[in-house]
């Protein structure tokens, strides 16, 4: 059990530069043992800076001007100001892990990584061994002790990073978006471990997160940070009401909360945080099943369109890496203008399928065609005449010193562009960067860089786009803005085929025409989102969790072939008076 402590952050202001704007203002927070606190906020709100401050990294290690203190009261052992002690000392009070585990793991082997901190402290061999075993046990990773870091999955790496922080024996752990690269199953594993650390072992856990739907059920408190200030600090059942202040901050509250707000008469006992709680509340309100009021047949737009010309097609495609099968005999046809979501757990083969469509990988067997022409593997530049590929980390795609240089890449580097390629200025207007022509790409916000990378692809007038986890690191508002932009591009071009590789089921529900689920390199489901999300058990086998509302609908009506995918749809479905408007909404 972790010792008694209380962390108090009293920060009048923090600025990265002496004359710059305040990133944090008027922060008054305290954290206790056994508490799991979620910090949410839009991109650029200061929540990551707050995490750094809580871990004692500002101003000493990060730089800037801090007016305030972060004090740790260690019960009978006195009080420490974390902003003024050496970093290694602060790390023994507050451990921190960051978004990308890759650069936090600096050893080759898991046990060596976890032992690195205790070894540096010069602890006796027996104590080092004890801490390594205890930390790995806390994150359920004992069996990984002898593994090479490079062979781990994203979720395993994140667990090892948490174990390495725990090995310094801090009573409080701060995690900055630890699940952003993880699939839903990996996210759930990490969240269960964090919940166990706080609720069973007595650690304090502070979690900065965008994925509120997936983490809020584990939280004891939710804090909303906006403009560097704490706007909300409440128990999760009270934190989200009214939702207007969350919408005003640009953060979308969990869908179950929205459902409770739309139909308060059914949730008199409080806001539900889990699907089971919501189902129980509905049962208590006398609404046990919506089978009698099933959603109507899908509108034509939802169904696959086999008659449209083929944009991309793979036939009997098998790919393996170092004798390990990544794709096995996959056949798939994507019609022109279709928006297809490839979903599945990390390592299920969805990125490999996208890579094969782009010509990045050479298949063992099978063929791939794109707009009637065979994909020549390795001839990526030629394939890029027809297809654009947006990488997960768009910073890898930006080469120029200004927005103009990026959008004029084709002319500046004598790269052939299609005859109907739009002018750079047109694209700049389309992506909303016309006023930032001379700005350096690295001075743009994350959302702007995403739009710039997309714009750079659009300058070659692609007929199809492959988007690899395009919303990683973006808050929901920015993610939806990106897809709204894509919808505008589709309108502007007349037709645009999209292949979306993602873990974000809310975006799939909103924007995809079709869901293709992969498991161990094979396609196991290929249908519309409403039908796909009705098959929760099959999706769970694929490492996919449907949106909360879809899961609730399935729980209420296990035989439903199609489910609602938003709180508005489900509330209309469950309210007879709203049934007519549901039909309209679904159409």
């Amino acid at each position: 059990m972790s010792p008694r402590f209380q962390l108090r952050a009293a920060i009048s202001s923090f600025r990265y530069h002496e004359q710059g704007p305040a990133v944090l203002t008027g922060i008054e927070l305290s954290f206790r043992p056994g508490e799991l606190v979620v910090i949410a906020g839009p991109s650029g709100s200061g929540k990551s800076t707050l995490a750094l401050a809580l871990a004692g990294l500002v101003p000493g290690r990060v730089g800037g001007r801090l007016d305030g203190q972060v004090m740790l009261d260690r019960g009978g052992d006195g009080t420490v100001d974390l902003t003024s002690v050496p970093l290694h000392e602060a790390a023994q009070h507050v451990g921190i892990t960051f978004q990308n585990p890759e650069y936090q793991l600096i050893q080759y082997q898991v046990a060596a990584e976890v032992a690195f901190g205790p070894e540096n402290l010069g602890l006796p061999h027996e104590e080092v061994v004890r801490r390594v075993h205890a930390a790995l046990a806390a994150v359920r990773a004992e069996e990984l002790a002898g593994e090479a870091i490079g062979s781990l999955s994203g979720g395993q790496k994140q667990r090892v990073a948490i174990a390495a922080a725990l090995a310094m024996a801090p009573p409080l752990l701060v995690l900055d978006e630890p699940t952003s690269d993880l699939d839903p199953v990996g996210t759930q594993q990490v969240m269960e471990i964090l919940s166990g650390l706080s609720h069973e072992r007595g650690h304090g856990v502070v979690l900065v997160e965008h994925k509120l739907d997936e983490v809020v059920r584990y939280a004891d408190r939710v804090i909303l940070v906006d403009g560097g200030r704490v706007v909300v600090d409440e128990h999760p059942r009270r934190a989200f009401t009214p939702t207007a202040r969350w919408h005003a901050a640009g953060v979308r509250p969990p869908e179950l909360v929205t459902l409770a707000e739309l139909t308060p008469e059914w949730f008199a006992s409080g806001v539900p945080l889990t699907v089971e709680e919501a189902a129980q509340a509905l049962a208590d309100a006398g609404i046990q099943s919506c089978a009698a009021r099933r959603a109507p047949s899908p509108p034509a737009a939802d169904a696959p369109r086999p008659r449209a010309a083929s944009a991309m097609e793979v036939c009997g495609l098998s790919v393996s890496y170092k004798q390990k099968r990544a794709l096995g005999d996959v056949s798939l046809r994507i019609a022109e203008g279709e928006w297809v979501a490839l979903v599945g757990a990390n390592g299920s083969g969805k990125t490999t399928l996208g890579a094969a469509l782009m010509g990045f990988v050479t298949p063992d067997t099978g063929t791939a065609t794109c707009f009637g022409e065979p994909v020549r593997f390795g001839r990526i530049a030629k394939q890029a005449d027809r297809v654009g590929y947006l990488f997960q980390n768009v910073d890898d795609m930006l080469f120029g010193a200004s927005v103009a240089a990026e959008l004029e890449f084709t002319s500046r580097h004598q790269v052939a562009a299609g005859g109907d390629a739009p002018a750079a200025a047109e694209v700049a207007t389309l992506i909303g960067l016309e006023g930032r022509w001379e700005a350096h790409p690295y001075n743009l916000s994350g959302g702007e860089r995403q739009r710039l990378a997309l714009g750079a692809l659009l300058t070659r007038a692609p007929r199809a786009l492959i988007l690899d986890e395009p919303t990683t690191g973006l808050d929901e508002v920015h993610a939806e803005a990106l897809f709204d932009l894509l919808a505008r591009v589709r309108t502007a071009l007349g037709s645009l085929t999209c292949v979306l590789i993602t873990h974000d089921m809310r975006l799939v529900a909103r924007f995809a025409d079709r869901v293709v689920a992969l498991r161990a390199g094979e396609v196991v489901l290929d249908t519309s989102p409403r039908r796909a999300f009705a098959q929760g058990r099959l999706l769970a086998d694929c490492g996919v969790r449907p949106p909360e509302i879809a899961a609730l609908h399935s729980l209420l009506d296990p035989d439903a072939e199609e489910v609602a995918v938003s709180a508005h749809e489900l509330s209309s479905l469950l309210s007879p008076s709203r049934e007519r408007s549901l039909h309209a909404a679904l159409r």
Binding site: A55, L57, R61, P86, L87, H88, A90, A91, Q92, G95, I96, N100, E102, Y103, Q104, I106, Q107, Y108, Q109, A111, A112, E113, A115, G117, P118, E119, N120, L121, G122, L123, P124, H125, V128, V129, A148, A164, F360, G378, I380, A381, K382, A384, G388, Y389, F391, D395, D396, M397, L398, F399, F409, T410, H413, V415, A416, A417, Y442, A456, L457, R460
Partner: protein, 322 residues
């Protein structure tokens, strides 16, 4: 006909100039050509990285493996060049025991043998003194090249140099290929090398493959933007090959920006992590891992002692002094 060709190439100014150009400019292209053909940018990820295996060399105490290249390096300096080639032969024994994959063998051959050949070539051209026997004397039209021609003495001296390159590279790469980065840090710390130096070495080896992965990724991103890195179908066609080389060279500054920015961001985070894990706080780190010398280690130690003793004998009685 053969006499005519002999006469044209060896006894006319045009022919001799052509041969001299080939010696000066085609031979140094062998290295890059071998590299492009057998390694390529994407093959770089397999250079200087640990290759897991259960061989006896992998299981040796990392301290012994760290001392091995140092010992071989010292011996190669003490021995005359003919004996250095004998030493090189001995350094191939560990390779036979660890049986690297064919990919590694191919890469090793290119990155070790090509520089050795170039060393012989460059000394053959430029290690010349008046009166040396010239295998091929450069004509007057090549006076600007700054050498009288390809000399026997230069080639022999190049062979001396190449021997030391080969033997040192062979020994050092055994250490790199068979030692986990965590063991590198452990061994350097046990041998009282600075903790920070040990960590820098470890981080370098751990992240080198990541760097090449990123290079690969960024090249793909440039290709997605329309920049063509595909190799020519017919590499011997000069126009295609020159165009490919030109595109690669022009892309270097382009690719540097995202790689540099990404690496700097990663380094910043790694430094934060290393500091927060108390790196350098105590002078003597404790250790999670404990290693006791096994039978194979003792055999390796005996081999090392025998090697030193053999060198002493050769130097004193066999005329092997450098």
């Amino acid at each position: 006909m053969p006499h005519f060709v002999d006469h044209l190439m060896l006894h006319t100014l045009v022919g001799r100039t052509a041969i001299a150009w080939a010696i000066s400019f085609l031979v140094p292209l062998i290295g890059p050509a071998l590299f492009i053909r057998f390694v390529g940018i994407r093959g770089l990820r397999n250079v200087l990285t640990y290759e897991p295996s259960a061989s006896v060399i992998h299981r040796l105490d990392p301290r012994l493996k760290l001392l091995y290249p140092a010992l071989i390096g010292v011996l190669s300096v003490l021995l005359s060049w003919r004996w250095v080639y004998v030493l090189f032969g001995l350094t191939l024994i560990p390779w036979a025991l660890l049986r690297p994959s064919m990919v590694r063998v191919r890469i090793l051959t290119v990155i070790v043998v090509a520089p050795a050949l170039l060393s012989v070539w460059s000394q053959g051209l430029y290690y010349t003194t008046p009166g040396d026997h010239l295998i091929f004397a450069y004509p007057i039209t090549m006076a600007w090249a700054g050498t009288a021609g390809l000399s026997t003495a230069g080639l022999v001296y190049g062979a001396h140099e190449a021997a030391r390159v080969l033997v040192t590279a062979s020994a050092a790469l055994v250490f790199v290929f068979t030692t986990q980065p965590s063991d590198v840090v452990w061994a350097t710390n046990r041998l009282l090398v600075s903790q920070r130096l040990g960590l820098a070495l470890s981080v370098g080896v751990r992240f080198l493959p990541n760097l090449f992965e990123r290079l690969n990724l960024v090249m793909r991103a440039a290709e997605v933007r329309g920049y063509d890195f595909s190799r020519p179908d017919r590499w011997w066609r000069p126009r295609q090959t020159v165009g490919y080389a030109r595109r690669m060279l022009q892309a270097l500054p382009l690719l540097t920006v995202p790689i540099l920015v990404g690496s700097l961001r990663g380094c910043r985070q790694m430094a934060l992590v290393a500091d927060s894990r108390a790196l350098g706080v105590t002078k003597q780190r404790s250790t999670y891992r404990t290693v006791a010398l096994g039978v194979a280690d003792r055999v390796a130690l005996v081999c090392g002692v025998l090697l030193v003793a053999g060198t002493a004998v050769v130097i004193n009685f066999g005329g092997g002094r450098f």
